[in-house]
Symmetry: D2
Subunit: 329 residues, 4 copies
């Protein structure tokens, strides 16, 4: 409502939008260039398109959202550049696998698109969180190969809440060059941001980045309504408070499930995502009771149904407990 007052310039020429870089810079304790957009898919795809030539490629984990869940958006924004995936056990890329991937790609010569960016996800798609040391190792390998690092931070706030570190330590201090900052999952109506940490790898692409936003229809004429959402999340650490609550609810779910003999937890829950394999009949009964689940492909050789439970900033303890009681019953 406050953002709606008065006549202001368009396309980001308003006081709220002009204050974004300073606010993000203060939170991340460094010089940044922040560009708001409405979806994580847009943030990831725009960020990567600024790093990768159309004839290039991105290296990412096989579980990456950019590879599996964005309807081909990265390939659209990158004009056909390829996503090359590496296998991992739990969504966290292994340093040795990264080195091998880079070597195999280079051996392919002109037959393989060259790797122009490394994209990591924190927290990962399987709800795990990279230790800061492991994140730094991966970034260092990339930089040794002259490759910049993008971080899909759709759930960065959950990872920071889990790690108990600063936003700076979780990103550029570990070697991240460009961040997809997630705001929607931690409270915004629809607000994410591409945050460039200004350095020699990112400086050349900053100048024209807004052109890519305009060209994809993501530049708001009334930009203040987008900026206001991000500013509110960053004020007094609201984004982190919201995510700490979501993480706590996830832990409560995990603890409850551990008491249930039929529940298998294939991954460690470190953010706000709980993956659990439940007996088929139990899942059906819960559905009959009104719950709804997205089913994941169950790993080979395992019986039961793999579902994901994702508490958020507005998940209430009583709703968690009601679900757990229903499972026990």
């Amino acid at each position: 409502m406050r953002a709606n007052a008065g006549n202001v310039g368009s396309y980001g020429d308003d006081a709220l939008s002009r204050s974004l870089n300073a606010r993000f810079g203060a939170v991340f304790e460094t010089d940044v260039a922040a560009f708001p957009v409405v979806t994580g898919t847009a943030a990831n795809s725009l960020a990567l398109s600024s790093l990768v030539a159309p004839y290039g490629a991105v290296l990412c984990d096989q579980s990456a959202h950019i590879s599996n869940d964005e309807g081909g958006a990265p390939e659209f924004f990158m004009h056909g550049a390829k996503l090359v995936t590496l296998p991992s056990a739990d969504g966290r890329m292994d340093a040795e696998a990264l080195r091998t991937g880079l070597r195999v790609n280079a051996q392919g010569g002109i037959l393989k698109p060259p790797i122009h960016a490394l994209s990591l996800t924190q927290a990962t798609e399987w709800g795990t969180v990279y230790a800061l040391k492991d994140l730094a190792d991966l970034c260092a390998i990339a930089h040794d190969h002259d490759i910049p690092v993008h971080l899909d931070g759709s759930r960065l706030s959950n990872a920071i809440a889990h790690l108990g570190c600063t936003p700076a330590e979780a990103t550029w201090k570990a070697g991240v060059d460009v961040l997809s900052f997630g705001g929607t999952k931690c409270g915004a109506m629809a607000a994410e941001a591409v945050v460039f940490f200004v350095n020699d790898r990112t400086r050349p692409v900053l100048k024209d980045f807004e052109r890519r936003i305009k060209r994809s229809g993501h530049l708001w004429s009334k930009a203040r309504f987008l900026s206001a959402q991000l500013l509110a999340l960053l004020e007094d650490g609201l984004w982190l408070k919201n995510s700490a609550h979501a993480n706590a609810m996830a832990q409560r779910i995990v603890e409850g499930l551990r008491r249930h003999a039929g529940a298998q937890l294939p991954f460690e829950t470190q953010g706000n995502e709980v993956f659990v394999i439940l007996p088929d009949r139990l899942v059906e009964e819960l559905e009959a009771a009104g719950y709804g689940f997205y089913r994941w492909p169950t790993p080979e050789g395992v019986s039961g149904t793999l579902i994901r439970l994702v508490p958020s900033f507005h998940t209430r303890i009583e709703d968690v407990d009601a679900l757990l009681a229903e499972i026990s019953a």
Copy 2:
């Protein structure tokens, strides 16, 4: 605030979003498929990309927003399909020019991308409005060549307010197949819609249209916040009331300018855009007094500065009168 209540499905699976087709259908008195997006550039580009193969082309007026003012977005979404422009006097395409354009294109054979869509703009970029008969003639020519018609309706509400017709008469009854419905200029925070009028030309592309939205990062997870804006505008004709006010303010400006000897009005003001050529010194004095203008290239052989004055739904009479008084003084 009302849209924010409760837990609902994502990606459009909520009551507000599900009601969009019915609401748009009621307003336009026909069967429609409406897809909300945040910018006019996204609406235009997505709509055209569903009609035009990458090796095809769009025919449009040389003044068209898609050709001049969208940073190359249509070419991005259409994967390089070409915008072929036709000259016009005041932004309104001429039927004979359209026939010639289609003939010249066809003669080029394999050397020229084939025309796959006609894109018109109502109200036009120069603030003029097609008569319904002229609009229908152009659509008929396109349909005779098996070409669907897209309407850039960023200012459709202003055109309808000017014409005093129904939304149906202004669109599908004249032959329009796909509409970029403008909501932002007539009051929304950021809400437009691609509205397909369901017929044999549009039916084949409806099925996968949401995939194009997802792939361009324009699919909101919390879609209700986008849908709510459009529903509010369509309720009780708010979009048209807002635009009627904007048009009235534009007429008030025109009347004031006509009393000023130094003002030349190169186009008829029929919507809410006033184009006026003022003496250079007057423009500079107004700027010194705090007014800001976007300068247009002045036509050859004319002296003075061409500026555009665009009142909106929230322009007040007293502000219009203050500007006119300043000009007179």
Copy 3:
């Protein structure tokens, strides 16, 4: 030299080019539309781009040339459509894996690009050849899902020579809809062809296929020089005779290697490609003796160097025997 005589029309309007469809039709015993191009990469990429929307995907084996060895060309021609790969033991896709791949993709809904084409390779990248029954099973599954089948036939002639079947049996009678016909590997300077077998799945894309060729810079003004190469190969079965010779040389190599204790043959040689793992030192000694090899990544847990030996239409028995003698020595 004969093709160089006289003045003829350009862009395929010459007697040689006009005779291509009839010649290919006679060889394949059905109605075809054949389009010559200079490389297999162009043939594969153009063929797939005509079947797959930019927001769609192609299903192929993880060993496929289109996925690994064409520098991202398919993604370029398809405007970012995705290649989704399936694992296999020896380059031959398994029917059950195909069914699973299609099911997983469909479950992803709007988050995953829909499968618009199945691309198979015959002979495969590992030198194996699909039995006609297996090929037909895969095509039937694709057709059951309304998906057309593309065959990368860069080494189709080697497969036909191995199978002892007719070109028709090896392609459209098994269910192939579009073929990348390989001419360069069996004798041409640079000549391949996209061959559409005319049916309800291919008919809609034939009309504009030449536009895609033009738009990618692959339409020759002096097309007769390209057509002449294909006509010569198809005359009196020259393409098959050349490939039978190459296959025979490959078998001679295999027999020789089998007598060598240190050689491991990971795949069955059915066409003209021999993959062999030799002791590292032996490979180095051969290189010192003047031989050159392309090294493949050696499978995990295996010691030695994986190389590929590919005899061709002009490989002489004495050269094969010299190599084998060198290895024995």
Copy 4:
């Protein structure tokens, strides 16, 4: 036939292909990087794609082949970057028009794709030839704006033959950065080349240029057969001799037409293209006599049929005279 001897490396790793840079460098008297391709459309599109970002634009004359006659290939290779055209009287861009075009584009800010390259054509599409001084002026303006210059030299040999200058004077000495070298029109089966004159503007894009060739299916495995054509043309100035003959035949046609009262020559013939407006009935009679013409759109207000006559390296004097005699009769 000579190129067909022996076993050589693929993808350009053969003696003929490796000698291209030296041969082109000797002819153009400077350091070059030359990349052979089969069509002028591929040469132009690849060259421009290396200079222009997908969100950028190319400035060219409204008559340019890249804009009118290549089926949208430049837009395909440039991933949707825009061709912005400037009007001219006879295909030769005017320096003042260029300055205006650059200024208008810059004023558009983020709404207009930025100009990343200037593309000129020599000889032009209307058969005229830029004076070296005019070419140098245009290049200097572009360089002043940090914009590299591409020259479509499909008929460069005709222009050089007309100007009587050296290849170096006609290109890099005037400021050209990248040349589409035309070989097909002056004698090759199908051979053109993208020739980069190595300087600070071109050096950054050389490294990955071959990747663009591979990615568009234009990299020949048996590259020697493409290289051999270019080497033959460059030997002993064959390309220029062939074009001098074509120019002379064009002049003979012009002289003959000047003697015919009904013939109007709208442009000066400086290369090998003669544009002539003949009475409709005369054109029909010539067609009845077996001649074939491509009809151009006749300028407004002029009666008659505009046709183009293009003699080539193998046009014989007796055939020219026979046509002229037929016209006189």
